[in-house]
């Protein structure tokens, strides 16, 4: 067998490993081995590629791989679990960036030759576009998640028109570049694509980040597939397509969980500070019931059943370990404790599950929306920790609410609801929450971590 065939066989084995690896993600018990199989597939694919006859310069490759491995290993070891959305955003961006560089360097290599195949030329332009949009979009998402840019939607007049015009200009430039390679125009295209990614993500609010990250994940896969079409490399096409599909499915799940359309998430600037709503809250005189840690502890300690509902606030105050301690303590007193996780709680799909896994909460105590919604009416106490929009009864009852139609965790049906919250400020979407004014709701204000700590002490004494 010649080298090309051997590489082909290696790619086939790698493809199978990727598919089996993804399949093993259908259960938490097998997922870790699935991830290992995928990484083995990647290793085989890399080694096989090094045997490609076109490769002469091994030095550059070796330097790049060593530097990249050290940085990657350090990042993955030192990152805090609460910062996982930022890390995934950055990794998405790096993948997209690398794919666009592959496209760009193929362009610089080929453009002097009079005829690039139209299909290759199109793939180069498409790879450049999607790779760079992924890169700059992910950087903006990272800056928002890290709190360097503010999480609320950032908008300016004519934003949508500017983005639309830019997109049309980009398409025109691509059409021109496919017919005749012209370096200055290509460089202009690069800048325009980076700008487009920035414009697309900057108006999207923090609460919509699960959708954005899923979408960028998909883009990074499609960019890799585009690089595959450029180089005629089947392995890139297959793996890119798998990731692209994964990202699209996750995007769909997130959008469904918010009862929104993709267009609404992308261009709706959801949660942009609406003056009328903000004013309404500040002049609000509806009564709320504030409670003390002591009373709240009694409520929790003597309940028969309790459901914990964590939200982004749990991640912000890094209170997952305290929550687990409270759960264990109540469990020991004979209280049945479950956790209810909304699909869009937090800043990325499954964000809460990872935090609770870190705190060693058994995953069979975590329940989805559909699994647990019927149980709230038979539950003594619901403890809401830093969740807001996903428990807002207006989404079910008030057809004028911007949240109307979004599936929520129906915590207000429980006997008692205890809400841990920093202050009465509205959630990311800037929408007032009817839950806080219900007669069976008590509010305990303060940092979630501190409040949980006090509750734990009180229950120990109860």
């Amino acid at each position: 067998m010649n080298t090309d065939n051997l590489i082909g066989v290696a790619y086939l084995i790698a493809t199978l490993l990727f598919i089996i690896g993804l399949k093993r993600f259908n259960s938490p018990a097998t997922a870790r081995s699935g991830n290992f199989l995928s990484s083995a597939g990647m290793f085989i694919a890399i080694i096989a590629t090094l045997y490609d006859q076109k490769i002469i310069n091994y030095q550059t490759i070796a330097i790049g791989i060593v530097i990249g491995s050290v940085i990657g290993a350090l990042m993955s070891r030192t990152i805090r679990m609460t910062a996982m959305p930022q890390l995934v955003a950055i990794f998405n961006g790096l993948g997209g960036g690398a794919s666009s560089i592959v496209a760009a360097s193929e362009f610089t290599r080929l453009y002097t030759k009079s005829s690039i195949e139209p299909a290759v030329s199109f793939s180069i332009m498409f790879g450049t576009l999607i790779g760079l949009v992924t890169l700059s979009g992910s950087v903006v998402a990272f800056l928002k998640l890290q709190g360097i840019l503010r999480g609320q939607p950032i908008t300016f007049p004519l934003q949508k028109s500017v983005s639309t015009v830019l997109f049309i200009v980009i398409l025109a430039a691509i059409v021109y570049l496919i017919q005749s390679s012209f370096m200055p125009l290509y460089l202009a295209l690069v800048i325009a694509c980076l700008l487009l990614g920035l414009l697309l993500v900057i108006p999207i609010g923090g609460a919509d980040m699960p959708v954005v990250i899923s979408l960028l994940n998909s883009y990074s896969g499609i960019a890799a597939a585009a690089a595959g079409f450029i180089l005629g490399n089947v392995m890139l096409i297959v793996a890119g397509a798998l990731v692209g599909a994964a990202g699209i499915i996750l995007t769909q799940i997130m959008i469904k969980a918010m009862n929104r359309s993709l267009a609404n998430v992308m261009f709706g600037a959801f949660g942009a500070s609406d003056q009328s709503i903000t004013a309404d809250i500040s002049s609000n005189s509806k009564p709320i019931r504030q409670t003390t840690a002591q009373d709240a502890a009694v409520m929790l300690a003597y309940a028969r059943s309790a459901i914990f509902v964590p939200g982004y606030g749990l991640a912000v105050s890094q209170a997952q370990h305290q929550l687990k301690e409270l759960g264990t303590l109540m469990d020991q007193r004979g209280v049945s404790v479950k956790y209810a996780i909304h699909p869009v709680a937090g800043r990325m799909p499954g964000h809460m599950n990872v935090l609770l896994a870190e705190a060693e909460v058994s995953y069979d105590k975590l329940f989805d929306l559909e699994q647990i919604n019927d149980e709230f009416s038979n539950t003594d106490v619901v403890l809401v920790i830093g969740a807001n929009d996903v428990v807002n009864p207006d989404a079910r009852d008030n057809s004028t609410s911007p949240l109307y139609g979004m599936p929520i965790l129906e915590v207000d049906l429980a006997q008692q609801v205890l809400v841990l919250k920093r202050s009465l400020n509205p959630g990311f979407a800037g929408i007032d929450n009817e839950l806080f004014y219900k007669s069976n709701t008590s509010m305990l204000f303060g940092d979630a971590k501190a409040s949980l700590g006090t509750l734990i002490e009180e229950i120990k004494q109860a």
């Binding site: 997922a31 790096l94 993948g95 990074s220």
Partner: protein
């Protein structure tokens, strides 16, 4: 028999995407974050493209671009798989129930 290479490639893309849709639909929500970061590491497959670009002799610009692409995608691959492994190592069932 399909002779056209481009068409074959599109065939492969469509089939792989379909397989992806089927596989991912069955992933439980609790694994969405590790799934995403593992899939993310797989999208670092573009490292193969980066290797091909960096390994060819094509002037200083191409070499620098290639080196850059290799570094970025290696971070993506190594960091992605390692952090996923770290996350999945934390997922566990209640021991009492297993016994």
């Amino acid at each position: 028999m399909i002779e056209n290479t481009l068409l074959t490639q599109i065939f492969i893309f469509v089939l792989a995407a379909s397989a992806g849709f089927e596989l991912i639909t069955k992933v439980p929500p609790t694994l969405h974050t590790p799934l995403m970061s593992s899939a993310n590491a797989v999208s670092g497959i573009t490292l193969l493209g980066a290797i091909l670009v960096a390994g060819q002799l094509g002037g200083i610009t191409a070499t620098i671009l290639g080196l850059f692409a290799v570094i970025l995608s290696t971070i993506n691959v190594v960091g992605g798989f390692m952090v996923t492994d770290r996350m999945l190592g934390m997922f566990r069932k209640d021991r009492r129930k297993q016994e």
